[in-house]
């Protein structure tokens, strides 16, 4: 059987197309498992996983924890806000202390880009990046592609537009890598101030007009406006943002075709997406959440099977 080409999941950048297919095929089996009446398998009962979160998270943390528990791994949870990090401990020291308690795998979210990569060079454990600053969020991109594949049959050849704050978004970057790797066409749309320079070098096009973008696409991935990452004003008012880059029901109905609406959560209802769109039949937002558990089980399972006994 093919194995993953990597020992850590630090970013989609480090994966190849075969890795993604292997993760999806494994996730198919786990999706069946989590829909059984007994949703648990004993595969990872001799593995201990630490979830280390230096940044707030609800969905990702719960999803990882559930995936780990469904695989029967032992789980340690750690949030930076209640820890010795506040007392000035370094990242390597914190993690090495945790690892000396015999932990096999670390799932980490960190505000600094590259934190996972740094850690993977200095500690002996398999690292899964659960979001590092504005860099990558690989499991989110995998579950997004997986949800597209589930809804539309395939990712190759599909047209996907990513709308919103591309500049601060690790979800956007990981999604662009993942979608391009699988042969999808990608456009980005958002206020000019929130589109990074040289984004075209990733092989994506910039579409300044949301309506045109929606008419072009099969899938629209609506990103959250990340107020917490904006230390200066990138657009005049939220109301203006909503008028230009928010999706509402009238806009969606006026397209004359069905497109798939995605959102990585948490939603700012009424800002990037209105409630009636988020809750419509075209939205697969809650499927994304369900698939997140299956995808994370697959990633953890595949990485854990490469750990030495």
């Amino acid at each position: 059987m093919p194995a993953l080409s990597v020992r850590h999941l630090l970013g989609i950048k480090y994966l190849n197309e075969k890795d993604i297919q292997l993760i999806f095929e494994t996730a198919d089996q786990f999706k069946e498992v989590i829909n059984r009446s007994i949703k648990k398998v004993p595969s990872l009962r001799d593995i201990t996983i630490a979830n280390i979160f230096f940044e707030n998270s609800t969905r990702t943390k719960l999803s990882f924890e559930l995936a780990e528990k469904r695989l029967s791994a032992d789980v340690l949870n750690f949030s930076a806000s209640q820890s010795s990090v506040k007392k000035g401990e370094t990242l390597i020291d914190t993690v090495n202390n945790i690892l000396s308690m015999k932990v096999d795998m670390v799932v980490m979210r960190h505000p600094n880009p590259g934190a996972g990569i740094f850690l993977s060079k200095h500690v002996k454990a398999s690292i899964i990046n659960a979001g590092d600053g504005a860099h990558e969020h690989p499991t989110q991109a995998l579950l997004d592609s997986y949800s597209i594949r589930e809804k539309l049959g395939d990712v190759a050849g599909k047209k996907v537009i990513i709308v919103g704050d591309i500049l601060h978004s690790r979800v956007a970057l990981s999604n662009i890598f993942a979608l391009k790797l699988q042969g999808a066409q990608v456009k980005v749309c958002g206020p000019k101030t929130l589109i990074p320079k040289y984004i075209e070098s990733l092989g994506v096009e910039v579409e300044p007009d949301l309506r045109k973008g929606l008419l072009w696409c099969d899938v629209a991935n609506m990103l959250r406006v990340q107020n917490e990452r904006m230390e200066m004003s990138y657009f005049p008012t939220t109301r203006e943002y909503t008028q230009q880059f928010g999706i509402n029901k009238e806009l969606l109905d006026s397209l004359g075709k069905e497109i798939v609406i995605m959102h990585p959560g948490p939603i700012n209802r009424g800002v990037e997406i209105t409630s009636d769109v988020a809750d419509s039949s075209q939205s697969i937002i809650l499927h994304q959440v369900e698939n997140g558990v299956a995808i994370r089980m697959a990633v953890i399972y595949l990485l854990a099977s490469q750990l030495n006994t």
Partner: protein, 185 residues
């Protein structure tokens, strides 16, 4: 580079013998389960599914059993050799669209060797309910090589094979012919 091939294989069961054995196994199942109203057949992925499909077809077409419930069970995530091989264990799909609660389950696999796959299947099947009883049917029973106290209720052929030898079961629908080989590695 040329490598001398030392691998040899001999035929354990021919197509005709397999044909006769399948009919016998079907009759033995009928004898114990009559109309199969409380019985479900479960083929173990990946290789047990061919045998399970074949038996279900035989019971329906030749022995006129009206309703046969057939499921496919993948045991990958229940195996006890996770991280003990050099490669990850590849999962196949599970397809059981009925409850096994209160049913008589017949687990079906092609070769019974150490018994570890069946141990995993016994655990895995519990995710679908609590069966009344579980039986085991295998085409080939490799004697004297068990690691666990597990024996089949129905067996096609018992074989004494040493550990270097491998039993290879081929099926018409997959490999183009029905035949069982004993391969010397």
């Amino acid at each position: 580079m040329l490598v001398a091939h030392t691998m040899s294989q001999k035929v354990l069961l021919s197509s005709k013998e397999i044909h006769i054995i399948l009919h016998r196994l079907a009759c033995q199942l009928l004898e114990n389960h009559l109309d199969f109203s409380d019985t479900v057949l479960i083929g173990i992925q990946p290789r047990g599914t061919f045998l399970a499909n074949r038996l279900a077809k035989l019971l329906k077409e030749e022995y006129k059993v009206k309703d046969i419930k057939l499921g496919l069970l993948d045991i990958t995530f229940f195996r006890d050799d996770f991280r003990r091989g050099d490669k990850p264990l590849e999962a196949s799909s599970t397809k059981i669209d009925f409850l096994v609660e209160g049913k008589k389950v017949v687990l079906i696999d092609d070769v019974l060797y150490t018994g570890r796959s069946i141990r995993a299947a016994l655990t895995a099947i519990q995710s679908f309910g609590r069966p009344d009883e579980i039986e085991l049917l295998t085409l080939i029973d490799r004697r004297f090589s068990r690691h666990l106290p597990i024996q089949p209720n129905y067996r096609g052929r018992q074989v004494d094979a040493i550990n270097q030898e491998k039993v290879k079961v081929l099926w018409k629908e997959n490999e183009g012919k029905d035949v069982v080989y004993l391969v010397n590695r």
